[in-house]
C-alpha cells in the first residue's frame, strides 16, 4: 500500500487543562456564539417586506405546505451574530499570513470600492450588449494587461478559479490534439505539483505519470526528456515551483516538449514571484492560469470566490472557450457567445461556465494592476522574493531547510520538521504559531518533503513585521527542538483548542439537527 507520504497526522495533544470557567463561556473579547438554529426561530425576520397584492396563485398546485425550518433573526441580532463569528477568524487584515503557494497579500480597499460601483455590480449578464459597454471594456482591458504581463497570445477569461483555469488549459490542449487528429493519452506531472494538477489531468481523461525531482528540488530534466514521446500530450509544470525554486530549465523543457509534439502547461499559482520581471511566454509556455486572488490581490474570502484566467500561446489560442470579448476598430465591444462562435472562434472547445466569468474579480484585479503599474508590479516581485529570502536565511540555522543550498528561493521558503525533538512535528510548530498570533504556514506540502513547512510572506509585509514573525517562529522552533510538552497541546489561546478531526470524519455531522433528533440518531 501507499504510505502517508507527507507525514500529516492530526494529533489532539496532551490532556487539555480547562480555563477558569465563566458563566457565559466567554473569555472577555473571546465571545462564544450559538448557531442560528439555536438563536432564531421561523417566525422572526430581519426584513420588512411589503404585503403581496391579492392574486390567484399560478403555482401549478405546488404550494409549499411543509415547514422548511429556516430560522430568522432581527437585523441587530444578525449583525451581532456574524460580527461575533468574524472575530473567531484569522485574516490578512489582522496579521502576517504566511501560507506558502497561497500568496496572502494585502487586499486593497480601492478594489472593493470600484467593484461595488453600480455600473459593474448592478448590471445583468444578459442585458443587451449596447447597455454594458463599460463592463465589457473592463474585461477587455484586463485581458490586454494579462497578455502583456505574460507575453502570451490570448487569454481565456471565464475560468472561475485556479483549478478551473487548469482545466481550461488542459481542455485547450486536448482540443488542439483532436484537431491534429492525435491521441496522446499521457500527461507528465512533477512529484512536487499541487494536487489539482493530477486531478485536472485525470478529470480530462488523461493518464498521469509522475516525473521525479532532482536532489536540489527541481524537475529532473533528463528523466523528463527521456519520457517524452508520441503518447505524451503535455507536461504540467509549476514555475516557480512548489519548493520555492525557479525551474531554470523551463525553456529547454519547453523546446524538448514541443519537439516531441506536446504542449507545456504552466501552473501560474506562483506568478507573484516573477510578475513584471519574467514573461512566461518567453519560456515557451503554451497555457498558464493566473490566480487573480493570489498575484492580483482579489480577496480570498474564507475560501473563494477565486478567478483563474488562462493565457494561451499562439498554438492554443484558437481553442479558447467562449465567451470572449472582442474590441472593434470603432471602439465598441462585443461578446463572442454561442451565436457567433461558429464564425468568430470556430475551434473553441466550448463554454466552461454560465455567463461571462468572475466580473467582480476582474474589476478588482484591474484596479490592482493600474494602481501598481509596470514599475510597481516589478517591485512587487522583487519585494516578495526579498522577503522570502530574508525569512529563509534568518531561520535556516534553526529549522531544517532542505533546499537552502540550492541557491536563493523565489517568493517562498521551504523548511521541514527533520531536526525537532522526538515526537514533535510540523503540526506542533503550526499550532504553536497560532498562540503567537500568526496563521501557520502551509504544512505538509509539497509532498516531496516529509513534514514540509512552506512560508510565503508576500511583498506586503514590512521589515518590522517580518522580524517579529521570524522571532516568533524561532522561539516556537526552539521549543519543539527542546521538547516543550506545552507545545504538544497548543494552541492554548485560540477560540478553540485542537479539534477532533478523526471524530468529524468517522461520524460526519454536516447539518444541524435539533438535540432530540441528534441524540436519537446516535
Amino acid at each position: 500500500m501507499t504510505l502517508n507520504q507527507s507525514g500529516w497526522r492530526p494529533e489532539m495533544g496532551g490532556a487539555a487543562q480547562a480555563e477558569a470557567a465563566t458563566y457565559t463561556g466567554n473569555r472577555a473579547l473571546m465571545l462564544e456564539e450559538a448557531l442560528i438554529f439555536e438563536l432564531g426561530d421561523c417566525q422572526t425576520t430581519g426584513v420588512d417586506i411589503a404585503p403581496a397584492p391579492k392574486v390567484a396563485s399560478r403555482l401549478g398546485g405546488l404550494e409549499r405546505t411543509r415547514d422548511i425550518g429556516l430560522p430568522g433573526l432581527s437585523e441587530p441580532e444578525t449583525v451581532r451574530h456574524y460580527t461575533r463569528l468574524s472575530r473567531q477568524n484569522y485574516a490578512i487584515d489582522l496579521g502576517l499570513f504566511p501560507l506558502g503557494s497561497c500568496t496572502m497579500k494585502h487586499n486593497p480597499r480601492l478594489n472593493e470600492k470600484v467593484a461595488r460601483m453600480p455600473g459593474f455590480a448592478d448590471v445583468h449578464p444578459l442585458q443587451p450588449q449596447a447597455t454594458v459597454q463599460g463592463a465589457l471594456a473592463v474585461i477587455d482591458e484586463l485581458a490586454h494587461w494579462l497578455i502583456t504581463l505574460t507575453g502570451m497570445k490570448a487569454v481565456a477569461m471565464s475560468p472561475k478559479a485556479g483549478a478551473h483555469g487548469e482545466l481550461c488549459g488542459i481542455l485547450a490542449i486536448k482540443a488542439a490534439l483532436e484537431a491534429r487528429g492525435e491521441d496522446r493519452p499521457v500527461i507528465l506531472v512533477p512529484e512536487s505539483a499541487h494536487g489539482t494538477n493530477p486531478a485536472t489531468a485525470a478529470f480530462a481523461g488523461f493518464r498521469v505519470e509522475s516525473i521525479p525531482a532532482t536532489p536540489e528540488g527541481r524537475v529532473d530534466f533528463a528523466a523528463l526528456t527521456a519520457r517524452l514521446g508520441p503518447d505524451v500530450a503535455a507536461v504540467m509544470i509549476t514555475n516557480p515551483n512548489t519548493c520555492g525554486l525557479f525551474e531554470r530549465d523551463l525553456k529547454r523543457i519547453s523546446d524538448a516538449v514541443h519537439a516531441a509534439g506536446g504542449y507545456v502547461y504552466c501552473d501560474g499559482a506562483n506568478f507573484n514571484a516573477i510578475v513584471g520581471r519574467v514573461r512566461p511566454g518567453d519560456l515557451g509556455v503554451d497555457a498558464m492560469h493566473i490566480n487573480l486572488h493570489k498575484t492580483f490581490s482579489t480577496p480570498h474570502g474564507g475560501g473563494g470566490p477565486g478567478s483563474g484566467p488562462v493565457v494561451l500561446s499562439e498554438a492554443l489560442a484558437p481553442f479558447a472557450p467562449i465567451p470572449h470579448v472582442v474590441r472593434h476598430a470603432d471602439g465598441h465591444f462585443h461578446l463572442v457567445e454561442e451565436e457567433t462562435a461558429g464564425a468568430e472562434l470556430p475551434n473553441s472547445f466550448g463554454r466552461m461556465t454560465a455567463f461571462h466569468g468572475q466580473m467582480g474579480m476582474y474589476t478588482r484585479a484591474l484596479s490592482y494592476i493600474l494602481s501598481h503599474g509596470a514599475d510597481g508590479l516589478r517591485q512587487v516581485a522583487e519585494d516578495a522574493v526579498l522577503n522570502a529570502n530574508y525569512v529563509l536565511r534568518q531561520l535556516e540555522g534553526v529549522l531544517d531547510a532542505p533546499f537552502a543550498g540550492s541557491g536563493p528561493c523565489m517568493h517562498e521558503a521551504l523548511f521541514s520538521d527533520a531536526n525537532l525533538a522526538e515526537g514533535f512535528s510540523t503540526l506542533d510548530i503550526a499550532k504553536g504559531l497560532i498562540d503567537e498570533g500568526y496563521h501557520p504556514m502551509t504544512v505538509y506540502f509539497p509532498l516531496v518533503v516529509h513534514g514540509a513547512m512552506l512560508i510565503e510572506p508576500t511583498e506586503t509585509e514590512s521589515k518590522a513585521a517580518l522580524d517579529q514573525f521570524i522571532g516568533a517562529l524561532r522561539s516556537v522552533a526552539l521549543r519543539a527542538k527542546q521538547g516543550d510538552p506545552a507545545l504538544k497541546s497548543a494552541p492554548h489561546f485560540a477560540p478553540r483548542r485542537r479539534l477532533d478531526e478523526t471524530l468529524a470524519a468517522r461520524r460526519p455531522v454536516l447539518v444541524w439537527s435539533p438535540p432530540a433528533l441528534a441524540e436519537a440518531a446516535e
Binding site: 473567531q88 477568524n89 448590471v123 449578464p125 473563494g304 454560465a354 529570502n389 536563493p408
Partner: protein
C-alpha cells in the same frame, strides 16, 4: 506604491543580511534571456487611488444600471433587494481576507458560517446534506451529472429541454472530454414541459435525468413521477434550482424525490455583478455523501470538549486524492456563500415566504397585464416569478428597442437559442419584489409602442 511597505533602506539592510549585493542576485536562477531589463513594455507606471477610481467611474457610467430602470431580466440571474447589513458584514476583514479554513482553531467564524449555510441549503432543497458551495450553478450542475455517473457507474445523462442553455453548454463541453453521453433537447414555446418525453427516454443505461425547477421558461411542475421512473430504472433525478426564492412558495425538489439538487445561489445576497462571482449550491441524499464533490464542513469537539467545526471528508478532494479525487475543484465560493447565508438569516422562513409571495403576486400582475397587449400571449400555465410571453415578432430587437426607451424588458430566447427560429419570438420576463406596479405599466406601455 502605496501597497509596498519596504523602504529603500529596509531593502538594503535585508539584502545585506541575506548576503546579496543586489536584488538581481536573488533572480540568479532565472536565465538572463528570460528576464526583462526594465518595467513591462506597454503598461503605464503606477497610479494614484484617485486616478484609478476616475478611470473606473468613467467605464461604469457606460453601463445601464438595473436599479435605475424598470427591470425584468432573469434567466439564471435575478435582481432582489439585498439588505444593507449583508454587504457590511461580508466586508469585515476577518471574513473578506481570511483563507480557506484549514487551521480550524482560528477559522471557527468561517467554519460555523459554512455549517449554517450547509444546513440552510439542505433544508431549502429538501435534502439531507449540502456542501460548502461550488463555483456557480452551471459548474455545480455538471458536477452533479458527473457524481451521478460515479454513483450509478453509467455514462448516459438525459438533460431536459427546460435546462438553461448555458448549463447545457457547460455540460456538453465537459462530457465531450470525459466521454459521458448526454441527450439534450430544446424547449418548445408551450405550457407543457418535456417530462413525458424524459420519462420515456429513461432506460437501464441512464445515470441521471436533469431538470430545471422552475425551468428556463419559468414553468413549474411536480417532479414526483419523473423521480419514480428514474428510480425504477436505477437512475438519479437531478433538479437544478436557479431561483432559490421560489422555494419559499413551491415544494422543494428533494421532497418530490430528487436525489441531487443543485442551484445558483446568486439571487440571495450576492447581486447581479454582470454574471459573477456567483455561488453554486449542491445538496443530496445522505447515502451519496462520499461521492459528493466540494468542501464539506462538519461538527466535532475540541480538546476541552467544546463544540467546534472542521473541514471534513477531505480525502475526496484533489489535494489528497490527486488523480483519484471526486473532482478537480479546489475552492468554493466562500464569501458569496456567506452573503447567501446572511440574507437567508435576515429573511428567516417567514421573510422568505413573504418575499416569495410578493414575487409571485407581482409576476402574476405583470403576466396578466402583458397578456392584454395585442399579439402577446402568455406561454405558461404555471410559474413562480418568471414567465415567457410569445410576441408577434422576433423578441431580440424588441428587447433592444425597449432598452433604448430605458426599459430592461427581459431576456429574448433568441439571445439564448440563436439558431432556433421557433423560439425567436419568445421573451422571458422575470418579476421580483423590486418591480413596482408603475414598472409593470412602463413595460407594458413601452412594449406596446415597440410592437406597434
Amino acid at each position: 506604491m502605496r501597497y509596498l511597505p519596504l523602504t529603500p533602506a529596509d531593502r538594503q539592510q535585508m539584502l545585506a543580511a541575506i548576503g546579496a549585493q543586489s536584488i538581481d542576485d536573488l533572480f540568479v536562477d532565472v536565465p538572463a534571456e528570460a528576464q526583462l531589463d526594465g518595467p513591462v513594455h506597454g503598461l503605464p507606471g503606477h497610479a494614484s487611488e484617485m486616478a484609478v477610481e476616475r478611470h473606473f467611474s468613467k467605464l461604469a457610467r457606460q453601463n445601464l444600471v438595473a436599479s435605475d430602470h424598470p427591470f425584468f431580466l432573469g434567466a439564471g440571474a435575478y435582481k432582489h433587494h439585498v439588505p444593507a447589513s449583508v454587504d457590511h458584514l461580508i466586508q469585515r476583514g476577518e471574513f473578506l481576507t481570511a483563507y480557506t479554513p484549514y487551521q480550524p482553531e482560528i477559522a471557527q467564524g468561517t467554519l460555523q458560517m459554512l455549517f449554517e449555510f450547509q444546513t440552510q441549503v439542505a433544508r431549502l432543497f429538501g435534502c439531507d446534506v449540502a456542501n460548502a458551495s461550488m463555483y456557480d450553478g452551471s459548474t455545480a450542475c455538471w458536477e452533479a451529472i458527473s457524481m451521478a455517473g460515479r454513483v450509478t457507474k453509467r455514462k448516459k445523462a438525459i438533460l431536459s429541454g427546460g435546462l438553461h442553455p448555458h448549463y447545457v453548454s457547460v455540460a456538453k463541453t465537459m462530457a465531450h472530454f470525459t466521454g459521458d453521453h448526454l441527450e439534450t433537447a430544446r424547449p418548445s414555446l408551450s405550457a407543457e414541459t418535456d417530462s413525458a418525453q424524459l420519462i420515456d427516454a429513461i432506460d437501464g443505461e441512464t445515470s441521471c435525468v436533469v431538470v430545471q425547477y422552475p425551468d428556463i421558461l419559468g414553468r413549474v411542475e411536480d417532479l414526483s413521477a419523473l423521480a419514480a421512473r428514474a428510480h425504477e430504472a436505477g437512475a438519479l433525478l437531478i433538479a437544478v434550482v436557479m431561483e432559490p426564492v421560489a422555494l419559499g412558495a413551491i415544494r422543494a425538489p428533494g421532497d418530490m424525490g430528487a436525489d441531487i439538487v443543485v442551484g445558483e445561489g446568486q439571487s440571495l445576497g450576492v447581486g447581479l455583478q454582470f454574471g459573477g462571482p456567483y455561488v453554486g449550491l449542491f445538496a443530496c441524499k445522505e447515502k451519496f455523501v462520499r461521492q459528493m464533490p466540494g468542501r464539506l464542513c462538519g461538527e466535532t469537539v475540541d480538546a476541552e470538549g467544546k463544540r467546534g467545526f472542521v473541514l471534513t471528508l477531505s480525502t475526496r478532494e484533489q489535494h489528497i486524492r490527486r488523480e483519484k479525487a471526486t473532482s478537480n475543484i479546489c475552492t468554493n465560493a466562500g464569501l458569496c456563500a456567506l452573503a447567501f447565508s446572511i440574507h437567508m438569516t435576515l429573511l428567516g422562513e417567514r421573510g422568505l415566504r413573504d418575499l416569495a409571495a410578493l414575487n409571485h403576486a407581482r409576476a402574476v400582475q405583470a403576466a396578466d397585464r402583458l397578456a392584454q397587449l395585442p399579439g402577446v400571449t402568455l406561454v405558461n400555465q404555471s410559474f413562480f416569478n418568471e414567465f415567457t410571453v410569445k410576441l408577434p415578432k422576433e423578441a431580440r430587437p424588441v428587447v433592444q428597442a425597449l432598452a433604448e426607451k430605458g426599459v430592461l424588458g427581459g431576456v429574448s430566447l433568441g439571445r439564448l437559442y440563436p439558431d432556433a427560429a421557433d423560439l425567436a419570438n419568445g421573451l422571458v420576463v422575470a418579476v421580483t419584489e423590486i418591480v413596482s406596479e408603475e414598472d409593470i405599466e412602463a413595460l407594458a406601455t413601452a412594449l406596446q409602442e415597440v410592437l406597434a
